[in-house]
Symmetry: C2
Subunit: 168 residues, 2 copies
């Protein structure tokens, strides 16, 4: 397979993959393109490579920057802005985990804590099932929370070495 073909395939499937995870397809594609680009590239390069509009590139790039996955780069002497992506995939993964934890898991756990305090007869079947469901989700959620916290603080080798100990 030729590089150009492989590139296209990777960008396209990374986009599809991302869309299963609440990340918009184009954003994931831009991210893919930046990850495989050895040097920083411009908005125009991205527009051309993915055949999408300037506005689209601009918005998604800003989104990627807010996720901490892409950086603006100023090349001296150049007027245009350049962009580059974090290349260490472990850092990419922990960054995504950190952000999603903050944006989604944390608020959910906060809400569940509130919902646990409902008034009503604890003997009532409906009440009982509700409280049990909420508290078991909360419990699982906070385990996940702690685990993700530790994971994202550890570096890759440390984390995987640790896992090996558990998983024989």
């Amino acid at each position: 397979m030729k590089l150009s073909e492989a590139k296209q395939q990777f960008i396209s499937s990374w986009g599809a993959f991302g869309s299963h995870w609440g990340i918009n397809r184009t954003m994931a594609q831009i991210h893919a393109l930046l990850m495989i680009s050895p040097d920083p590239i411009t908005q125009d390069d991205i527009m051309e490579e993915l055949t999408i509009s300037r506005g689209n590139v601009n918005m998604n790039i800003r989104d990627l920057i807010s996720w901490g996955l892409v950086d603006r780069v100023i090349l001296s002497g150049e007027r245009k802005e350049y962009f580059t992506a974090e290349k260490d995939i472990w850092k990419v993964a922990t960054q995504i985990i950190k952000e999603r934890k903050k944006r989604e898991l944390d608020p959910m756990l906060k809400l569940l804590a509130q919902l646990e305090q409902i008034d009503g007869d604890k003997k009532n079947k409906e009440v009982k099932q509700f409280v049990e469901t909420i508290s078991s989700i909360k419990k699982l959620g906070s385990h996940a929370d702690k685990m993700l916290d530790l994971m994202t603080k550890a570096d890759e080798n440390w984390f995987l070495a640790g896992l090996l100990k558990v998983f024989k």
Copy 2:
């Protein structure tokens, strides 16, 4: 807070939460409703509780069944079908992980293995960055794959006990 209010809040936010994870909002809401329902309920109950159409309920219920999260229940003497959800949240989580691994991670890893074999000068900067990106994603992916496999085979206590050892 009253039960009815708490129920509404839980259903609504579980729906929003799900939609960040590629699960459609209504499907997640139906799932939430079933999890907090102590006894099996009918399509009509769901229609009424969530004020959505019969077709919508039917399609999403089937989807939930295909995910292994909901079961059809036939109550003897009753004509209508009843539905019930798995209540053990650890089982719910591992079931979701298993399915998503099968549907998303496995195909992605398979594709990456193909993309690694591109022809061209390995000294070329573009080729080098491409191959490095692909192989590092593949490596991380297969670590995740192994870990998820073990997680979903283990039971909750075993898994958490194991994690405790690693994470002090």
